[in-house]
């Protein structure tokens, strides 16, 4: 599980990498694999978009990084941790080094905004004193300082996603994974979220965003990885959204 000094590519040690996938395949059932021999390196501090058709394997990729799924073959290394070799009881600690955001927000519906964000801190057994300092601070970063008492139901989609983002960030993860974070949002809110993600990236966090939002991808000029039927078909610095039709 420890990272060795092995050189993967000339001049780039494992320790520079946030994410390494080596010949990763994942088949849910016998037959067409959802991921087919994917190799991918993402450096620390990078901002990466993953785009592609529905069913091309983007969410599968995210789930492998979260160790929600195990690959059928290949190596997955996240923050220097060989995910495949993690023991079950090591998984929670591993996940705390990652922040995750989903299209459907996944907030705890019976708790208010403050408690939803504080929850991530309680998991890592942060003292109450610290929680009372950290949560308001991160809420104001995402622009929700005034809404800390509201329940998820009482918030707009954009606001809910910002709560989810605050929860993902409050423990200061090294990597932020976002699976279609703007999938349920209007253009204005989508831009707000993307700008927040960029701001987070500027502070040093590696950000990986799965999205279908062509306009944003084209405008932001980041690294773009395009997937199709479980294969990476293009990987460009300052790339754009590749049109299918």
């Amino acid at each position: 599980m420890k990272t060795t000094g092995t050189r993967r590519r000339a001049g780039s040690a494992i320790s520079d990498k946030a994410i390494i996938l080596e010949h990763v395949s994942k088949a849910y059932t016998a037959g067409v694999p959802a991921l087919n021999d994917v190799t991918l390196h993402i450096n620390k501090g990078e901002f990466v978009f993953i785009v592609g058709d529905s069913g091309s394997g983007k969410s599968t990729l995210i789930k492998l990084l979260l160790r929600e799924l195990l690959p059928t073959s290949g190596r997955v290394i996240v923050n220097g941790t060989d995910v495949v070799r993690l023991r079950r009881r090591q998984i929670p600690k591993f996940r705390r080094s990652l922040g995750v955001v989903f299209q459907d927000f996944r907030l705890l519906k019976d708790r208010n905004v403050y408690e939803n964000v504080a929850f991530a801190q309680r998991i890592i057994q942060m003292p109450n004193r610290e929680i009372r300092r950290n949560v308001p601070s991160i809420l104001s970063t995402v622009g929700l300082a005034g809404k800390y008492k509201a329940r998820p139901k009482q918030l707009s989609g954009g606001e809910q996603q910002r709560v989810a983002l605050a929860r993902a960030l409050v423990n200061k993860p090294q990597i932020l994974l976002a699976d279609e974070p703007t999938g349920n949002l209007d253009p204005k809110n989508s831009w707000d979220i993307m700008n927040l993600l960029e701001k987070i990236n500027n502070n040093g966090t590696t950000v990986l965003v799965v999205t279908h939002n062509r306009e944003i991808v084209n405008a932001m000029q980041k690294r773009v990885i395009t997937m199709k039927k479980g294969i990476i078909v293009s990987d460009e610095e300052k790339g754009g959204y590749i049109d299918e039709d």
């Binding site: 979260l66 929600e68 009881r89 929670p92 600690k93 591993f94 996940r95 705390r96 990652l98 995750v100 996944r106 907030l107 705890l108 019976d110 929850f119 991530a120 309680r122 998991i123 890592i124 057994q125 003292p127 109450n128 929860r167």
Partner: protein
């Protein structure tokens, strides 16, 4: 673990109880129903055993002695009887005492008007047994003792009582197994209906990196509190029913009060309370622990 975290888990567990009112109600009702049956059954069983034991202890063999036996000979027979292991007590009742007892039991009033003892030849031993199953052996021994004129056994034979005891044993094992299976079945059903609602909550917690312990603790605490509440209700119910039943029997069947000697409610409850609470909390713990476990593998 921080004390902070522990309080948080307990608080969440208690909050869940109020949050999921219907689930709580259904679970409490299930546990209560099972423990109520258990409590009733337990009360009946312990009383039955108590009565059988009473009957056993009251069981005595009378050995009528030859008239005019010397005090030395009486003491000698008494001594040999006392040395037998199945004998717990030997009581000598002289002819005069037998007559006095008889007169009193039959309301003869003042017996000093009788100049002669009509039961002159009725001096006897009342022999109490520590083990009723040994009664036949004792009887045949007594019949061989010189100076013993006749041996009387109680109408409730030893065999009958031993048989009753065995039947009670089998029946209680049977009923306990049935109750246990029924309650496990009902609880796991109730819990899995309740848990499907919270599957998402468990998943979210796991995504953020909550340990199994942290995810499970509130559910387990919730289950245990539900079990605790679920054990109080039947205890209260059984307490009232027990008292009512005792009063009813005493009023309706006063003649049976000797035979149906109920245990005082306190005696039954000193055991029933801890057993009932233990079972309730235990069922709640096992029920929630195992059901949450199914959803933890995210």
């Amino acid at each position: 673990m921080r004390i902070n975290t522990l309080f948080y888990c307990i608080w969440q567990g208690i909050r869940n109880i109020f949050k999921n009112k219907w689930f709580t109600l259904a679970s409490v009702a299930t546990i209560s129903a099972c423990l109520f049956l258990f409590g009733l059954f337990y009360s009946i069983l312990t009383n039955f055993q108590h009565m059988v034991k009473n009957a056993e202890q009251g069981l005595c063999v009378s050995a009528l002695l030859d008239a005019g036996m010397s005090d030395e000979r009486v003491a000698e027979i008494r001594g040999t009887l006392m040395r037998r292991t199945e004998v717990s007590e030997v009581e000598y009742v002289s002819a005069a005492d037998t007559w006095a007892q008889f007169a009193e039991e039959n309301n003869f009033g003042d017996i000093s008007i009788f100049t002669e003892n009509p039961l002159e030849d009725c001096a006897h031993f009342d022999i109490y047994l520590s083990d009723v199953s040994m009664q036949p052996a004792l009887v045949s021994y007594l019949e061989s003792v010189e100076g013993v004129r006749k041996v009387n056994q109680s109408f409730l034979t030893a065999q009958a009582l031993t048989g009753v005891n065995a039947i009670i044993g089998y029946v209680s094992i049977g009923i306990i197994i049935i109750l246990f299976l029924v309650s496990i079945f009902l609880i796991s059903n109730t819990v899995s209906i309740g848990i499907s609602v919270r599957k998402e909550e468990i998943q979210i917690m796991k995504y953020i990196g909550a340990t199994d312990f942290f995810t499970r603790a509130p559910f387990v605490i919730e289950g245990m509190v539900i079990g605790l509440i679920g054990s109080f209700l039947p205890l209260i119910g059984v307490y009232f029913i027990y008292n009512e039943a005792m009063m009813y029997v005493a009023k309706r069947f006063p003649s049976l009060s000797q035979l149906l000697a109920f245990l005082p409610v306190e005696t039954v409850f000193t055991n029933l309370i801890p057993v009932c609470i233990g079972l309730g909390v235990g069922i709640g713990f096992i029920g929630s622990f195992t059901t949450v476990r199914k959803h933890l593998s995210v």
